[in-house]
């Protein structure tokens, strides 16, 4: 926790830190989630507060179910996830809407407009409407913190789970927030509270609860009318803007003089307040990123307004896009014409164990059904060894479907590739299907012992909890055999030739098989601390064949030389350069050593 200024107690917090603080102050005692950018740091930060139980669940569905269970005992409970995670958790979400809560239950969903770190751009606000649940949307860290407290009050007052929607520009924005406060203490201790007619959702009970849900919707809409975070600011009455979240910030910045209805409570909508605001302005604009969520509902009220006819539906809004959309004028950069620069995409780290596997998959020319994680970078050149990537755990099912569809024609031509955390998340059920319905799809589990992409969160195979305490480490070999895979082999992905042989054998096998490539991520603390024995280029031996460059390792770069320089160096005149290893970056994984046929890569002490 960070104090913003020396002379007062205000705080400087990232949205996710502020959200965690808000949850702590709201008296949350149970929180479960699955890592996913931009939501991850909420739970990480919350895990540092005393007296709050936090956990990483194998997936979002389990996280939400656990939070539902905790709230049934009267405990204020939280589930956190990114937008696509809410798809996984949608099943319990829709029925928890019927059961209601005992202690408060809040689900935070972090959207990622512009897909900074996501595979799609879905608008999670639609879930509020579909599941008939109230939703709050903060615009910055200070609000995120306050809204968490309000969300728990609403949850308990209206007997409902509450959704809080954030996005990348709330989660990963830092801002000033008020001083820390003492956490809320509930009046009752956690206990078993039996209420089967409310909690057992068999049809007879569910039909009764269904009526309650509709009644609650009306009550919530009424509550929204007097909700303190739905604010009308009347300025110039010619332009009226209704907005929530970061869209409000961009609109406010672009049109400081305009009139605003800033919504904090975005579902169900406060119709009276909206009508009152609309009647005070000449032209009404609904400024929102992604879907016309507010716009469609406001139009359904019979209120004329502009929305997606001018506001872009794709990508996150900015001050500039809102200004241009509404006024037609644009503060253009005098330097609009960019200069062409070499791209700088993200890359696997120097010494990343995944690299060796993807190098081999490229050699094997198989169709690689990929998945979500750092290893999705295997798609990029020079490895270029990924052919599809849909969602968490999809690789296994996709490869099975391809195998069944292609029959003998496809044998030896496709694999599924997914990480340890992704396998646990939803990959295992895919593998069960592969075995049960017998296909030859080979599943490769890239086991680097950690959920790396989101910043190294422990998972059920890591052997530790969110707090770093020891935990059971799931045994992949045993579980694969237990679901019926007869051929399970484990390799070290840094050993390229040996790995190639194993992969070739298993891929060609006409029955289910699993290859586990096991080596820890170079960025986990134990690996970082391990003394490094970097390799170096023996420049005299390098012929410039570029074999090692095919790995795409950031520690190896090409040094061009002129024909004269080549001769001067004692090389053939036609040699165009040599590969140079950056010893500060090299961690000594040795993948390139295996590829070099000219003994041009060696350890210092070996030269």
């Amino acid at each position: 926790m960070s104090q913003a200024r020396k002379d007062d107690s205000t705080l400087w917090l990232a949205g996710n830190e502020a959200t965690a603080l808000g949850a702590y102050e709201a008296g949350v005692k149970f929180a479960s989630g699955y890592p996913g950018t931009p939501s991850t740091e909420i739970l990480e930060n919350l895990s540092r507060y005393d007296g709050v139980y936090t956990e990483w669940a194998p997936n979002e569905k389990v996280a939400l179910e656990a939070a539902i269970g905790a709230c049934f005992t009267g405990t204020r409970s939280l589930a956190t996830m990114k937008h696509v995670g809410l798809n996984v958790a949608a099943d319990p979400l829709f029925t928890a809407s019927y059961t209601g809560v005992h202690g408060g239950l809040v689900i935070i969903v972090a959207d990622d407009p512009s897909m900074h770190s996501s595979q799609n751009e879905q608008d999670s606000r639609q879930y509020a409407r579909a599941a008939k649940l109230p939703m709050l949307e903060p615009s910055d860290p200070a609000e995120a913190r306050n809204f968490l407290k309000t969300a728990f009050e609403i949850s308990e007052k209206f007997d409902t789970p509450v959704l809080v929607r954030t996005c990348t520009r709330v989660a990963h924005v830092k801002g000033v927030a008020g001083p820390a406060q003492a956490p809320y203490t509930p009046e009752e201790e956690p206990d078993i509270y039996r209420d089967p007619a409310k909690l057992v959702m068999l049809p007879a009970n569910a039909r009764k609860r269904r009526v309650e849900v509709e009644k609650r919707q009306k009550d919530l809409a009424g509550y929204g009318e007097s909700f303190s975070e739905n604010n009308i600011e009347i300025g110039d009455s010619r332009i009226g803007i209704i907005a929530a979240g970061t869209s409000y910030l961009y609109a406010r910045e672009a049109f400081p003089e305009a009139s605003f209805l800033k919504l904090g409570f975005i579902y169900p909508l406060p119709e009276k307040t909206i009508r009152e605001f609309a009647s005070q302005v000449e032209t009404l604009y609904i400024v929102e990123d992604l879907d016309p969520f507010l716009e469609e509902q406001i139009k359904a009220m019979g209120i004329p307004c502009h929305g997606k006819d001018v506001i872009p539906a794709i990508g996150e809004l900015t001050t500039g896009t809102v200004r241009k959309a509404i006024s037609g004028s644009h503060r253009e950069s005098p330097f609009k014409e960019g200069v062409e620069l070499p791209m700088r995409p993200p890359n696997m780290c120097a010494g990343c164990p995944h690299r060796g596997l993807f190098y081999n998959l490229a050699r094997l020319k198989v169709f690689v059904s990929g998945d979500i994680g750092c290893y999705t970078l295997g798609y990029l050149p020079p490895l270029s060894a990924m052919d599809s990537c849909v969602c968490m755990g999809a690789s296994v099912g996709v490869a099975h479907g391809m195998a069944k569809s292609l029959g003998e024609k496809g044998l030896g031509k496709s694999v599924a590739v997914l990480g340890d955390s992704t396998f646990v998340h939803t990959g295992l059920s895919g593998l069960i299907n592969t075995v049960y319905n017998t296909s030859y799809a080979t599943v490769i589990i890239l086991d680097n012992r950690i959920t790396a992409m989101t910043g190294h969160q422990a998972n059920p195979a890591s052997g530790s909890t969110i707090k770093g305490e020891p935990a059971n480490a799931m045994d992949f070999e045993t579980i694969c055999r237990a679901v019926g895979v007869k051929h399970v082999r484990t390799i070290n992905p840094h050993e390229i030739e040996e790995g190639y042989q194993v992969l070739k054998e298993e891929i060609e096998r006409p029955e289910p098989s699993v290859v586990i490539t096991r080596y820890p991520c170079v960025l986990i603390p134990e690996e970082k601390k391990r003394p490094k024995k970097p390799y170096m280029t023996v420049i005299d031996n390098c012929t410039g064949c570029t074999m090692c460059l095919r790995l795409g390792c950031p520690a190896i770069s090409w040094v061009p030389v002129s024909p004269e320089q080549a001769v001067e160096m004692g090389k053939k005149e036609k040699q165009k350069g040599y590969a140079l290893i950056d010893q500060d970056m090299c961690v000594g994984c040795g993948q390139c050593v295996e590829l070099c046929k000219f003994e041009a890569i060696s350890r210092k002490e070996e030269v």
Partner: protein
């Protein structure tokens, strides 16, 4: 640049952009400004281009993102990176840039060469560009990880915040072990900026 401003940090994942922007933000907060900072986490950090937007004002800051053409100071931790964000720069922008070059994949694999004209490209457009050899300063001090703080020191000359305020931020917020090197890096960065500006 007094009551409000927009600062853009850019570079390559792993160069310490978050720390540089954080040091800058704490200095502005200590001087009584409101501020918002937008960062990018996740996938982009794996050796890719990374940026942070920092906006400050005596009044409330709304948007966490800098609008096109309105950057006051751009801080480039890697030499070519400011050019990638040209659209954010305006006629009155100042670019404070490190001479450090990190070859992107296409350069590292010999498919293309490093765009050595990148600083000329800024100057040709009339953009005030101050070069600082931040890595050399960091090497001289004996800790190459302080290059980001050296460059922050350099750019701090353009902010309405006294040097003392930043030094106090380093003293109160950096781990004890690395306070001294970072203080030195910050001050050397400021000196380098002044020398370069006088040229």
């Amino acid at each position: 640049m007094k009551e409000k401003g927009n600062i853009h940090f850019c570079g390559v994942g792993g160069q310490g952009i978050l720390l540089a922007s954080e040091l800058c933000a704490y200095g502005l907060l200590a001087a009584g400004f409101d501020a918002k900072k937008s960062e990018v986490h996740g996938m982009a950090q794996r050796g890719g281009s990374v940026e942070a937007h920092l906006r400050y004002s005596k009044d409330k800051v709304y948007s966490p993102l800098i609008e096109e053409g309105t950057v006051d100071v751009m801080v480039g931790l890697e030499m070519m990176e400011p050019l990638r964000y040209l659209h954010l720069l305006g006629e009155n922008s100042t670019v404070v840039v490190s001479r450090q070059q990190i070859p992107p994949p296409a350069v590292a694999t010999g498919k293309t060469t490093y765009p050595l004209h990148c600083l000329d490209a800024l100057r040709e457009r009339g953009i005030k560009t101050i070069e600082v050899d931040a890595l050399a300063i960091a090497r001289e001090i004996g800790n190459i990880r302080t290059a980001n703080v050296a460059l922050t020191g350099a750019m701090s000359c353009l902010l309405p915040v006294e040097e003392e305020v930043f030094l106090e931020v380093i003293e109160t917020r950096f781990p004890a072990k690395i306070q001294e090197v970072n203080r030195e890096a910050f001050q050397k960065g400021r000196e380098a900026f002044r020398l370069e500006e006088d040229k």
